[in-house]
Every structure is written in structure tokens, then in C-alpha cells.
């Protein structure tokens, strides 16, 4: 997972591998997931993979991040609130995070940290 996250900074910012991996560990540590650094995709849960995808997106230069159907990406996700809290922790650069989901999942987002736009 570490290499997976570090790749973005290695390619776009030409950071040396060790430095890019240090950034990756730092991001994982923010959400208490530094232990998944050496793991491979099949060793991680869907939630951990989701966070890795988000961190990777945070490291890209784009200002807007689209998350499409998180309830589909993360298996057995009951509440979106803890996920949104971690997204806030990771979003140090104040990027716009837009979650696209089906109307049938609308109730999951009510009263949470996001604005719902239909």
C-alpha cells in the first residue's frame, strides 16, 4: 500500500522513493492505519483500500475529489460518519470532496458533515 500511495508523489513531484513513502506513512498515521503500509491489496479490508484510494487522490494535484457510491466500495458500511471524519482529517489541503451516491442511500448522510445536493 505504501508504494501504491507513494507512487503519485514520485511521479508528479519527482520525490525520492523514501521521501514519498514517508509522506504516505504520515497520511496513514493520521487515520491510524500505518500498519497497512507493507500490506498488499488482498491483505487489506475494503475500508482500508478505500482510505488508500482517498489518500492517493489527496496527493494528486486535482482540487476536486469525487467519491462514487462509498457504500458500494466499502463492504458492510453501516455509518458514513466515521468515514467522513477521517476524510476531514486527511483533507489538509482543503480540497473539495464530492460524494456521489444513489438517492436510496440518502438517509445515511442526514445530519452528517456534508451538504446534500440532489
Amino acid at each position: 500500500m505504501l508504494e501504491n500511495i507513494a507512487l503519485i508523489k514520485e511521479v508528479h513531484e519527482l520525490l525520492p522513493t523514501q521521501e514519498a513513502q514517508a509522506h504516505a506513512i504520515e497520511s496513514l498515521r493520521l487515520i491510524d492505519l500505518e500498519h497497512i503500509g507493507p500490506s498488499r491489496l488482498n491483505q487489506c479490508t475494503s475500508l482500508e483500500v478505500f482510505y488508500v484510494m482517498v489518500i492517493r487522490a489527496m496527493m494528486a494535484k486535482e482540487e476536486v475529489i469525487f467519491i462514487v457510491t462509498p457504500f458500494f466500495l466499502i463492504k458492510k458500511l453501516a455509518r458514513i460518519e466515521p468515514v467522513l471524519e477521517k476524510l476531514v482529517l486527511l483533507n489538509k489541503e482543503q480540497k473539495n470532496i464530492i460524494i456521489l451516491d444513489n438517492l436510496t442511500n440518502q438517509s445515511h448522510y442526514k445530519g452528517d458533515l456534508c451538504n446534500i445536493i440532489k
Binding site: 508504494e3 507513494a6 514520485e10 511521479v11 519527482l14 525520492p16 522513493t17
Partner: protein, 262 residues
């Protein structure tokens, strides 16, 4: 009926030339990236080191054993035949030409194709089917720089270095057989080889190894990229890739023989 037959031939011919054109275009693109310094970013260098390790270092014990077994037998047969036909005076150049120019690069290319060519073809095909290549593109990561170039370079480095190793082992085995068949001492054998080896032999070894290394990775990569969007298409992709690769290896071998005979 006849019209359909000609249409079919025309379609097949067009498809064939189109696929050749696309393959050439891909080759040119890879070569352009190879000479651009910006292609060599830290991620690419890391992949390159790993690829060289997997392709060249991981195979060394098996390779040495194979080189010793096959190299010894082949060089033994060549020396026995040379002795049988009273070609003892030419034995140095026969051994050098056979070991350096012909057998070492060819055998190494075959071995690397079987081991790493198939692996790379499958890897790229799986990444293609799983849409991992699309994800990399979404993150604006150049596929040629990050995925293809390290593999192609590792192919070139691995085939070249292993060909040299194979040639050394084969020449070493040659001594055992010359000792056995001709009662030749080590010093005479060394002098014989030193007099027989020319710059052209080393140049041919290097050029052939580079060409073999290049196609050993390029063709499986290209084949993997052309995989249809289904898991069942992966074995077909590997099969097609390997057939094309072996044709390319034989083509290079024949081409080199033709060029050497001019």
C-alpha cells in the same frame, strides 16, 4: 461467393498491416521514451531495479545449472565434430563463434522469454482486464514510463548480462572437452580463445542480446495491452504473445546469420 472470398482476404490483409503499423508505432513510442531523461523518475527507477532483480538475479542458480548442462553438451558435440572432421586448427574460432555469436544469446533469450516474458504478458493482461491501467492513466501516470520502460530495460540488461555469463560458462566447459578430446592444456586453450576472439564477436554478442532483450519484453507487453476485456482472454493473450515472441526471436537469429554471412 468469390466477392466475399476476396473481401475476406482484403480484410485480413488490412488487419495484418494495421496491426504491424500499430506495433511499430508502439515500439517507436517506447524507444522515444527510452531516450528522454524525464522518463527516469524515482518510481520508474525503483521498478527497474526490481525488474532486473526478478529477471536477472532470481534466475541465476537455475541459469548457471542450465548453462552448464546444455552449454557443456553442445560445446562437447561441436568439439567432437570438429575433431572428427580434422578441424582442430580452427577449433578456437569455432568455439568462439558458436558460443559467443550463436548459442549464448539465443539460449538466454529463450529462457528469459519462457520465464519472464510469460510473466510480463500475464501481468499486463491482468492489469488491463482489472482496469488497473485505466486507474494509472487517471492519475496521469505515464504507462510507458512507469510500467513498460522498466520492463524493456530490464529485459535488455538481463539478456545481455546472462548471455555473457552463459558464454563464459560455455567457454569454460569447452576447456574440459578440448582437454578430453585433444589433450589440450589450459594455457593453450586460453591462447587459442584469445587469438580467436575479435571485436566483431563481442559486438555481435552485445547487439544480438540487446535485440533479444528488447523483443523479449516488448512483445509480451504489447500482447498484454491488446487483451480483450475478459479473464478468459488472458491465456489467449499469453499464447499469442509467446508465439509472436518466438517468431521474433527466430527472425532476429536468422537476420543475424544472414548479416554475418554477407
Amino acid at each position: 461467393m468469390i466477392l466475399k472470398f476476396f473481401e475476406h482476404i482484403g480484410q485480413k490483409t488490412t488487419d495484418f498491416f494495421l496491426s504491424i503499423y500499430e506495433a511499430m508505432q508502439f515500439t517507436a513510442l517506447c524507444l522515444i521514451h527510452m531516450v528522454q531523461p524525464k522518463s527516469y523518475n524515482p518510481a520508474m527507477r525503483m521498478v527497474l531495479i526490481k525488474q532486473i532483480y526478478f529477471t536477472a538475479v532470481g534466475i541465476i542458480p537455475l541459469f548457471i545449472m542450465m548453462a552448464f548442462l546444455f552449454g557443456s553438451v553442445i560445446i562437447g558435440v561441436v568439439i567432437a565434430l570438429a575433431t572428427q572432421y580434422n578441424l582442430q586448427s580452427q577449433i578456437g574460432s569455432i568455439i568462439v563463434t558458436f558460443a559467443l555469436n550463436e548459442f549464448s544469446p539465443f539460449f538466454t533469450a529463450l529462457l528469459i522469454s519462457l520465464r519472464s516474458g510469460t510473466a510480463v504478458n500475464t501481468e499486463i493482461a491482468v492489469m488491463n482486464v482489472n482496469k488497473e491501467l485505466n486507474t494509472l492513466k487517471e492519475y496521469k501516470i505515464d504507462l510507458i514510463d512507469y510500467l513498460f520502460l522498466p520492463r524493456i530495460l530490464s529485459g535488455i540488461v538481463s539478456v545481455t548480462s546472462l548471455s555473457i555469463l552463459f558464454a563464459i560458462i560455455m567457454l569454460g566447459s569447452g576447456y574440459i572437452f578440448t582437454l578430453f578430446y585433444m589433450g589440450m592444456d589450459l594455457h593453450t586453450y586460453q591462447t587459442l580463445l584469445a587469438n580467436a576472439v575479435g571485436v566483431d564477436n563481442l559486438l555481435i554478442l552485445l547487439l544480438k542480446s540487446v535485440a533479444f532483450g528488447f523483443v523479449t519484453m516488448l512483445i509480451p507487453i504489447y500482447s498484454g495491452l491488446k487483451t480483450a476485456n475478459a479473464y478468459t482472454a488472458i491465456p489467449i493473450s499469453v499464447l499469442n504473445g509467446m508465439v509472436k515472441l518466438f517468431i521474433a526471436i527466430f527472425f532476429i537469429e536468422v537476420l543475424s546469420l544472414v548479416l554475418q554471412s554477407l
